[in-house]
């Protein structure tokens, strides 16, 4: 029985929805299949959009065809095309057809899976998908729900949230221990002594987690290979302990944003364990590569970690947001966040995770559908092929770069990222980047390590072909020729 419309209908009706949605499907396919023909970076100025649309919402409904027409008129001129093969900024963000379709279903079911009973399928598919994924990257069984222990996975929104959740769990754990050891210390006394650690190459969100969590986050010097070493961590811990402080949390980054360097988890982890501090692994970008066995040596030491996080929404073709986090003992997080009003209680509490306790927000979408669709419709082998292809493209660009003596490679090329620069001053390279982005054909962002400014060429698009990498290299090379010519004048 279709829903009766005995009241005057105010909603879009199903037949109209079908026309609209199918028209959007065609638009999307056309957009993505031809994305490389659009200028990757928009040329609009701040404030462009408000001039194109009314200053107030309409009183009466408009037609969906008018809305469709406005996508090209209003939206597209201001879109940075993250999925163009010409886009090499930041790190990739995922986009695949299976994930888009899964999100449609998620939007239709539109449950808020804060407890098991609020939609059992939403919680249970997430539990099983996090096991599938954990097995795919070779996580130790202790992290998996299917091991029957305490461990398990959860989908967070972003790696920033995972780092913060880990920090808050670690804080709760250390608070409890300190209160037991020093019954006379109050909360504020303990919090004021807490110290967390990360590499000076860690992502800005790690520093921010310290700010948000109200604790000191000590930035430790990475070695010449830009890796945080166990020795460095241990020295810092010893010094802080000698000063009466309380080390409680360390973030090891596998694949830094600056240069895709890998902290030495095999050294950091044992030091963390020795001093009883929570070890969190941030493998936001590079973690996807661990689905390929040949890269798992880079996560050596993972068995020492308390929590592990990577973003399938970066490099594993699952649309944002899908940040996979595993915890060996989620109870520290669950107990830290637990507030339990009657309207959220249910009879099955305890026999399945209530994910609201595992995260910062209360509400959550049915995000595991995206993982399920992508894993089934690609299969592990094609996801591995995707990773290996991107790594191959980075090596292709590296080869081009090394064959041109004007350029230098700044750091070891890892995964799908090439850090390079013109031999010469930072200013020269700043000029080069401005020129490249100004030409409007490809888009890169810079970084800086130890006062050396360089360009980051990230392989981002699933549409990228070898010819695209040649195109991007030619753009870089031509821009360099222009800039160097002008310098000589």
């Amino acid at each position: 029985m279709a829903n009766k419309k005995s009241l005057e209908s105010i909603d879009m009706e199903a037949p109209e929805f079908k026309d609209f949605a199918k028209s959007m499907v065609d638009y999307i396919a056309n957009y993505l299949e031809n994305i490389r023909d659009r200028p990757v970076l928009p040329s609009v100025q701040p404030g462009y959009l408000e001039k194109l649309i009314p200053s107030e919402a309409p009183s009466k409904p408009e037609s969906w065809t008018d809305v469709m027409a406005d996508i090209e008129r209003v939206i597209m001129p201001g879109v940075t095309h993250w999925h163009s093969p010409r886009f090499h900024a930041y790190f990739p963000t995922a986009n695949s057809y299976p994930a888009i379709v899964a999100d449609m279903l998620s939007g239709a079911i539109a449950c808020i899976g804060f407890t098991w009973i609020a939609s059992p399928a939403c919680t249970e598919l997430e539990v099983v998908m996090m096991d599938w994924l954990g097995k795919m990257i070779g996580l130790p069984a202790e992290f998996l729900a299917c091991s029957g222990g305490k461990g398990g996975g959860v989908i967070q929104g972003t790696a920033s949230e995972a780092t913060l959740v880990g920090l808050l769990g670690a804080k709760a754990k250390m608070m409890q221990r300190m209160k037991a050891e020093h019954p006379d210390w109050d909360d504020n006394t303990i919090v004021s002594k807490l110290v967390a650690y990360c590499s000076n190459q860690a992502h800005s969100s790690v520093e921010r987690a310290g700010l948000l969590g109200g604790v000191q986050m000590r930035s430790l010097k990475a070695d010449d290979n830009l890796q945080l070493r166990g020795e460095t961590l241990e020295e810092a811990i010893k010094k802080d302990l000698a000063d009466g402080l309380i080390p409680f949390y360390v973030v090891a980054t596998l694949g830094t944003t600056n240069s895709c360097a890998f902290d030495r988890l095999d050294e950091i982890g044992p030091v963390g364990n020795k001093y009883n501090i929570w070890v969190h692994v941030d493998a936001a970008y590079a973690g996807s590569a661990f689905i390929c066995p040949e890269y798992r040596h880079l996560m050596a030491g993972v068995e020492t970690a308390d929590s592990f996080n990577f973003n399938p929404h970066k490099w594993m073709l699952v649309n944002f947001d899908c940040s996979a986090m595993w915890l060996k003992d989620p109870n520290w997080v669950v107990n830290a966040f637990n507030v339990d009003p009657l309207y959220l209680k249910h009879d099955q509490q305890g026999s399945a995770p209530d994910y609201r306790h595992w995260q910062i927000p209360l509400g959550r979408r049915f995000r595991s559908l995206k993982l399920w669709f992508v894993l089934r419709l690609y299969g592990i082998e094609n996801l591995q092929a995707h990773i290996r292809r991107h790594i191959g493209f980075a090596q292709q660009f590296e080869t081009s770069c090394r064959s041109d003596e004007r350029f230098e490679i700044v750091t070891k090329v890892q995964m799908g990222l090439v850090c390079f620069r013109l031999k010469g001053s930072n200013e020269l390279n700043e000029t080069l980047l401005k020129r490249i982005n100004g030409r409007g054909k490809i888009h890169l962002v810079p970084s800086k390590i130890n006062d050396t400014y360089f360009l980051r060429m990230a392989v981002c698009s699933r549409f990228t072909q070898p010819e695209d990498m040649d195109f991007s290299w030619n753009e870089v090379s031509e821009a360099a020729t222009e800039v160097l010519k002008e310098q000589q004048k």
Copy 2:
């Protein structure tokens, strides 16, 4: 030019995507239009799903038709149907055809709008949509970007995050003031003295914001109408000041989860202003009703607020997640969270908001598309009709309930929520709720205020018709008859 496939294709191709996505469109329309025929609450037991699917991801790709077939086999048996007219639990969550289509486009563009340059359209549409929405609910101009002042809106994921963001902004503001007044106090001394306030009727996420922010959150007694009063707040502030503490933040709830009570913002706001503490308004559910002028008296005093939040993803037909937050002076939040690595810098900084500084996560989806599509394809008048219709349905249920002398209405019926119970003991009402949910035809959750246990009947579905409300009332009535008969035995 379509993308060449010179490498062996590993991705789903566009024609297959079109078939798959259009098949999903038909599935979605069929699911939603016939949703009332499904049992609203699943009867599965914890662990049901893992038995239905393999324990590992497949190596080779499967076909999309197999995936489609598994939706009914694996997912639907475990779905709680939040959009069924039989669903009366919690509060509504939004679901509309225009929002689903907008999310498809958001998934295709799949930009991460952390800075303006990362996709100008993503930031700019959000700025303008938050102005549209602010005007629709009659927010003072100070909150709007178009006023040319500091104020503006941002889309957060959830009201929990908005409450936390407000708290962290307030904390930063008070820290700065205290450091200026007491140069000898260190951070920990100040933090240990900070006190925030809310009603004992506030949502659990407010208490949690205090936990996460590491500050005291004082729960103040609401009056007999379950409203937090200005006098109560002022007494608490005076006592805390006398004790050497530092009041810095108060959350006023407009539409509590327990009973949809409205704190007296017209009293709380002036008290907050008098003592220079940050006033945050949590109107998560009820805020949507302010698009109808006849309900705006319930937000009297809004001009005294520093931040205001409501969830279009609850009651305004914009799919989760879309939590609208406005700040009079976002700089307190921006400066509290600001970490600024080179790879995120851009030339237009300062001339448009970089929303990454306004929120907990770094990444963010293009969520304003959902608002734009819904506002245009419904129009203000139909959205108002939607709100008024739901309020009418609650009144219809109230009338049924009042006409049955076995029942009592517990609190004043406000918006789309009826709090009711059988005259008699809490145990009797617990039995009644179990019976109602056990019969499997409708779904409600309970709450408790001052030791009185009661049932909450929330109007949730956009498909609801007057006959559905009669159906739900009959279910309640029949369950009551059964329970009372058994009691008499």
